[in-house]
């Protein structure tokens, strides 16, 4: 089963994009679109979009970098550790839950570390990898997506993102405890 899934993941990630290209361009050809001209016309904006997000990304990542380097995460974990027992969450996975919305590379590192120490098929290993798959790097997404259209007043986007993250983490704890404890 595991081997089959791994192959499936590989196959999909290999063929999905070529298939999309084929579909897009083939459909264009059938509909007699001047594919080359239109492609270039659309691609022109790529540079501007990428450059426009730089200030937003710098602001967000620098703040996250400062927070991570200061050791504030360790402090937060000490403060929150007594609470995790109440919801059936192993304290070792708390850094994972806190890091996931902030940093993709940071949470990937924590997941790898937890699996190395506790084993990938332990409760902690399964919970950490489920948590990783249960959410996106919310603050990175916010910075990039709002950056590209120069949104400064984000209204309810941040509370919405945080609610989604908390829900994802709690659901991960619940389902893993239900199935694997």
């Amino acid at each position: 089963m595991g081997e089959f899934l791994k192959n499936l993941v590989e196959v999909i990630s290999f063929i999905a994009i070529p298939l999309m290209f084929l579909l897009f361009l083939g459909w264009g050809l059938i509909k007699k679109v001047k594919v080359y001209e239109v492609f270039v016309e659309g691609a022109k904006d790529g540079f501007n979009v990428a450059i426009r997000i730089i200030p937003y990304l710098v602001a967000m990542l620098a703040a996250i970098g400062i927070f991570r380097a200061s050791g504030a995460m360790e402090l937060l974990i000490t403060v929150l550790a007594p609470v995790t027992g109440l919801i059936g969450m192993p304290p070792e996975t708390l850094p994972m839950a806190l890091m996931r919305p902030l940093s993709g590379s940071g949470s990937l590192g924590i997941m790898t570390e937890l699996m190395k120490v506790h084993g990938p098929d332990s409760l902690i290993g399964i919970m950490a990898s489920t948590m990783y798959g249960s959410s996106e790097t919310t603050f990175y997404v916010l910075a990039v997506y709002f950056g590209t259209v120069s949104i400064k007043n984000t209204r309810h986007a941040v509370p919405t993102g945080i609610i989604a993250d908390v829900a994802g983490m709690l659901a991960a704890v619940w389902i893993v405890n239900l199935l694997f404890r």
Binding site: G2, R68, D121
Partner: protein, 324 residues
């Protein structure tokens, strides 16, 4: 809100860094100013006019742990070092820090002047009769303000990372924007949009069902669910641009944008390929076991996000922000 989170991250970071450094100053975990006593097994004696000795600094783990106050290592210390005497009689010690060096010294070197070297002032140095070993007492360079240095470095590093990410996006962005334009002109997006109208109409009531934004949103969600992050980000940014064309108040997020972001940050993915790959690499007997649990987790996150965006958009303060 993002304002407060942002300044909160920075202020908490700075305060905690200062606090940690003050604690370090009191507890002195780096033993600044205290002599480390050990033996140097000499390999090279002084030759010519330069008074330098080369060799390995050795110490038992018990002494190392005792000196630094906690369990820092289990292995005996064996660290290459160079001792040189200057004309006025003072001597200094240089250790080249490599991966073989004790972890705690590596940590200290990170905060010292140079990552690869740890310097020290030799207090006492006496070579044995047979010239093969020497006793040395060395005060290593003072390590101070570790966290403040780390914070400064992190701010600079992450600013550079941000620019690299953005620059890396230029090519992929251009590729997908070009593809999207072709799909749009050919009417492919419109076909997709029409099929999914019943869903998108409910999720994004403010967006006309045949608007190009809907096509981009569908493509982005599809790419996300397939785990194609290289395609998902450009498509998502394209969707944001299209949504912004419907924005009555430039610079402020619309309801549709927040709902769209809620779906994106929920991160619903059919095959969490990264987590599976890491599990397989760690030797899991069943790497794919987390697919089901991840879908439940991300599904809950997505549903909670959509519900939260729909409920919060009715709050008076957020409604007021949208008034032109």
């Amino acid at each position: 809100m993002l304002n407060y989170i942002w300044i909160g991250l920075i202020l908490i970071g700075l305060f905690v860094a200062v606090g940690n450094d003050i604690i370090d100053e009191v507890q002195n975990p780096y033993r600044n100013g205290e002599p480390f006593v050990s033996t140097v097994l000499l390999k090279k004696a002084p030759s010519g006019i330069r008074q330098t000795w080369e060799g390995d600094l050795v110490a038992p783990p018990d002494y190392f742990n005792g000196f630094y106050g906690t369990q820092r290592t289990q292995e005996p210390i064996r660290q290459p070092a160079v001792i040189s005497k200057s004309a006025d009689g003072t001597a200094s010690l240089t250790m080249n820090i490599t991966d073989a060096s004790p972890a705690w010294w590596r940590e200290m070197a990170k905060s010292a002047g140079s990552k690869e070297r740890l310097l020290g002032r030799v207090v006492e140095f006496s070579v044995s009769e047979d010239q093969t070993s020497a006793r040395v007492q060395v005060v290593l360079e003072s390590i101070r303000f570790v966290k403040l240095k780390a914070v400064t470095q992190a701010a600079l590093d992450y600013a550079a990372i941000a620019v690299n990410i953005a620059l890396g996006l230029i090519g992929i962005m251009a590729l997908w924007l070009g593809m999207m334009k072709v799909a749009e002109e050919a009417g492919l997006l419109q076909v997709l949009t029409r099929i999914l109208t019943p869903v998108t109409k409910r999720l994004f009531p403010d967006v006309p069902p045949d608007h190009p934004a809907v096509g981009a949103i569908i493509m982005n969600i599809a790419a996300n669910m397939l785990g194609l992050s290289n395609a998902a980000t450009p498509l998502g940014l394209k969707a944001m641009e299209e949504l912004n064309k419907l924005n009555p108040k430039v610079g402020t997020a619309t309801n549709a944008m927040v709902t769209f972001l809620a779906i994106n940050t929920g991160g619903l993915i059919l095959l969490p390929a990264t987590a599976i790959a890491v599990r397989a690499a760690a030797g899991s007997s069943n790497p794919g076991i987390i697919i089901g649990t991840s879908i439940v987790g991300a599904g809950c996150a997505t549903i909670a996000g959509i519900a939260a965006s729909k409920l919060l958009q009715r709050l008076p303060r957020y409604k007021k922000a949208m008034e032109v």
